[in-house]
Amino acid sequence: MLLEVKNLTKNFGGLRAVYNLNFSVEKHKLVGIIGPNGAGKSTLFNLLTGFVPPTTGTITLAGQRIDSYRTHQIARAGISRTFQTNRIIANETLMNNVMVGLLAKTQHGFWDAMIGLKKEEEDRFQYRCREVLKIVELEEMSGRVASGLDQEQQKRLAIAVAIVNNPKLLLLDEPTGGVNVEEIDKLTKIIRRIWEEGITVCLIEHKIKMVTELCEKVIVINYGEKIAEGTPEEVMKNKDAIRVYLGEENVA
């Protein structure tokens, strides 16, 4: 079991964002998390990555308790994420953006700035960045400044930044948000390719078609509680899931 979440609860004052959530993610799976707006999906990601501390409950990554870790420690333990809004460094090149994802692994302190990195080390990192840019099909633009990218390219760049450090688990927060219908297939393909590289992927998505195509397991969340879990076919037949997602009248 790669990720195990037990009795996870988060209260913001009187608001119960996540309540008594239990689920697990097996190694090398593609898991989708769906639910209506405000269901607590993004809060769940924020809890998993330490941006907000849980009120109660435990999170275990590959046997290691991570719920008390700070964000950067969790990232070093192997959980990487993208954000709902595109987080890129607009005034740096694509190459440097991806390099930011590698910084935790490279020496980036003051003395290293004064001495400089070894040539072979530098080459190795450059090579890795190029490799990742190839996966997200941005390789030929690597020298360009990131502010010139469109919405969908920015999404792909953000994914590249997240996977460059070989995470154990990749959390994608709405990878297709604000992306054209034609481009969704491309993103789907890229996510599948990342999964084939051996990275476990967990994604929040609103586009049901993409989730059913990609994911082996789907978790449905509403009001911070898990209401259904299973393969896409199972979930699509689940009455509770249909009710929250498609509305009362569609429950046959």
Binding site: A75, S80, F83, R87, I89, E92, V100, Q107, N165
Partner: protein, 323 residues
């Protein structure tokens, strides 16, 4: 051809060459004054370099730079005046003391995001000034510390003449620039730029942002402290005003004028503003008014500072060439 004339390297070499040969071509009657003014500009530039590192590169606005500058100045001055310590040792101790203070301020305040760091640094600076004012025996209190000796000699070279102290300050400034240039063009610089743009992103890829900010603030403090130590010995007198947060604020204004986050901006800003205030003072006392006016006009027409102007010219010329 346009590319060559606009290349950064060419301008950099020209600028450095100008600073090196500038004292050789001065008319003798105003030479001492101009050398004094130029040295003062360099000392202000050091303060701007330290602020540029923490604010321009790391995006954390510190209003304690004046206090850290003053700490370096006072520590070095007290050591040389009261204890007869060699200037160069006092200079290093001044930088170290400022660095330690940076560490002490940074640990609690850099955890917070948003305006808190600004408020804490400014508050610290106000406390520091009242400590200096009340440690009369050591610091001379409000009347100030007098008779700070000039920079002591290295081997046979003494620094009592204006021109030698000009070159000494210039060389130390070059070292400052070199350090900051190395930082900017390294992994640390990339990390700082990422931090300035998006702290959440940095944390989500495993960067210890608190440690990075603290490290940068300490380096910035050390630079401010070293600059201050030199400043005290250059002026020969220190008053609590030389440690007030206004100094840091003036440096901020200079940086805005020159161009935040750029190395040439750290000298262009102080040079323009100090020259203008000197000129204005020789006519009437309208220096402050001019400063304010220039700042407002710059923010409206040149938000990227004077260095930003080069960018506009470059864009214009390239477009002109294409036509």
């Amino acid at each position: 051809m346009t590319g060559f004339f606009l290349s950064r390297k060419l301008w950099m070499v020209c600028g450095i060459a100008f600073l090196l040969v500038f004292p050789l071509f001065l008319p003798t009657d105003i030479k001492p004054f101009l050398l004094y003014l130029a040295s003062l500009i360099f000392l202000w530039t050091m303060l701007c370099v330290s602020l540029n590192l923490i604010f321009g590169y790391a995006g954390q606005l510190s209003l304690a730079q004046g206090g850290l500058f003053g700490t370096g100045a006072y520590v070095a001055a007290i050591l040389t005046v009261h204890y007869g310590v060699n200037f160069w040792l006092a200079f290093l101790v001044g930088g170290f003391a400022a660095g330690m203070l940076g560490l002490i301020i940074g640990i609690p305040s850099l955890r917070l995001r948003g305006p808190y760091f600004v408020i804490v640094t400014m508050g610290f600076n106000i406390i520091l000034v009242s400590i200096i004012e009340n440690l009369g025996e050591l610091t001379g209190g409000v009347t100030g510390l007098l008779g700070i000796p000039p920079v002591s000699e290295i081997g046979n070279i003494t620094f009592e003449s204006k021109i030698k102290s000009y070159y000494l300050i210039l060389i130390i400034l070059f070292i400052f620039w070199f350090v900051v240039y190395r930082i900017r063009n390294s992994r640390m610089g990339l990390c700082l730029n990422a931090l300035k743009n998006d702290e959440d992103l940095c944390q989500s890829v495993g960067i210890n942002t608190m440690f990075m900010k603290l490290q940068t603030f300490i380096i910035s403090s050390v630079l401010a402290g070293l600059g201050g130590a030199l400043y005290g010995s250059f002026l020969g007198i220190l008053t609590p005003r030389d440690a007030s947060w206004h100094l840091g604020f003036d440096a901020l204004v200079f940086l805005i004028v020159g161009g935040i986050g750029t190395i040439p901006g750290t000298i262009i800003g102080p040079a323009i503003m100090l020259l203008i205030s000197e000129l204005a003072q020789s006519v009437v006392q309208i220096g402050m008014l001019m400063n304010g006016l220039i700042l407002i006009l710059l923010l409206i027409f040149l938000p990227k500072g004077v260095v930003g102007l080069f960018g506009y010219i470059k864009d214009f010329l390239y477009r002109y060439n294409e036509k």
